[in-house]
Amino acid sequence: MPLPRRLPWDWWDGLVPESAVLDDECHVESSYQFLLDRSEPPYGVRVHRGASVHGLTAFDVGPEGVVTFGAYSVTNGTQFVCDEEISVGCCSMLGWNAVIMDNRRVPTDPLLRRAVLESVAFSRPRRLLGNAETAPVHIGSNVWIGFDAVVMPGVTVGDGAVVGARSVVWADVEPYSVVVGNPARLVRHLSVDERAGVLTPFGRRPYSQALQPLR
């Protein structure tokens, strides 16, 4: 069952749009996060069970865009700029004020860009109407993205990877690796004990099986 369209704890006097599908066991702090959401049903933003979307997170989603935010993932203040597809897996953490974009919203060619910027003045509401090239972004499960990091269009971040604070990720990130800097570069691999126990809301499970009930 989806959450009510007006969130009972909301500090902003607004409504969660129809195109946002929120699980009844997720936490979405405010309808303010959907101020830039122009997506259309069946869904543009989907937040799964146990996920938390805090603070000034912004779903800047165009009419064709789809953002899925997986079970138990958590974010605070991430900017999702989406005109095609951004997917976040289960149990991933996206740091404060990270930016995840599947397009740049404006063409790279200066003359085309000029035309797009001029069109903003005639749009209601005044917004960049994404007609830039898009490339889907996929963030895996158990990923940790640091403060203020930027993930560029077309990037896939593998399961269990860590992206350091202020990194700018231009290329795919291998599973269980740590990348930092601009452009983000590999600094180490993380070892993982697949048999180690993890305390989950559905009991203690080995790491290799902890995410299975969520997929």
Binding site: W11, R49, G50, W144, L199
Partner: protein
């Protein structure tokens, strides 16, 4: 405290905060994540200006700030201890933190994510312990906008941290610091 919010903060200063004469705290988020149970958990000296500053403290966090400091949109994230001297200026959107707040190791990290989820919190799942390292910012330090100061860092007195620097290691007094990761490039 002048509260500029139209929103969720109730505009009051928590009882375990000591604020010196002539100091001002503004902004709706100042104590939104002020969870410390220490008394005092936050001590601000005299004549400080804490503009839109966010005091995000965990239950054992303790922060001391001297006199005549000016902070603009700073996020102080404290698990254990942050000590800031007098005449310290910190620019917009700078984060100062004395822990990484989540484990790096994937298995522990997964347990942490479950514990902080609404479902896990309702079940009171325990959070893994994360390493901390007290942060010290000495007197007369200037930190530009968009910087990060990580756990265990000590910034020597009079140092000048250029905008956008990411400090992962301590720097001696009167250093000029720049870059990600930050390097000492000269003296002031």
């Amino acid at each position: 405290m002048s509260d500029q919010s139209s929103g969720w903060a109730d505009g009051r200063v928590p009882s375990n905060v000591r604020v010196g004469r002539g100091s001002v705290i503004t902004g709706p988020d100042a104590f939104k994540r002020f969870r410390t149970t220490r008394d005092p958990g936050l001590v601000i000296g005299a004549n400080c200006t804490m503009d839109l500053t966010h005091f995000s403290f965990q239950p054992d966090g303790e922060v001391t700030i001297g006199d005549w400091c000016v902070f603009a949109s700073v996020v102080l994230m404290c698990e254990e201890r942050i000590t800031i001297g007098s005449h310290v200026a910190i620019g917009w959107n700078t984060y100062v933190m004395d822990a990484d707040f989540h484990p790096l190791e994937p298995v522990q990290r997964l347990a942490d994510v479950f514990a902080i989820s609404p479902v896990g919190a309702a079940q009171q799942l325990p959070r893994p312990v994360v390493p901390t390292g007290p942060v010290v910012i000495e007197d007369d330090v200037w930190i530009g906008p968009g910087c990060m100061v990580f756990k265990g860092v000590r910034i020597g007195a009079g140092s000048f941290v250029e905008p956008g620097s990411v400090l992962t290691a301590s720097v001696p007094p009167r250093s000029r610091v720049v870059g990600n990761p930050a390097q000492v490039v000269g003296a002031v």
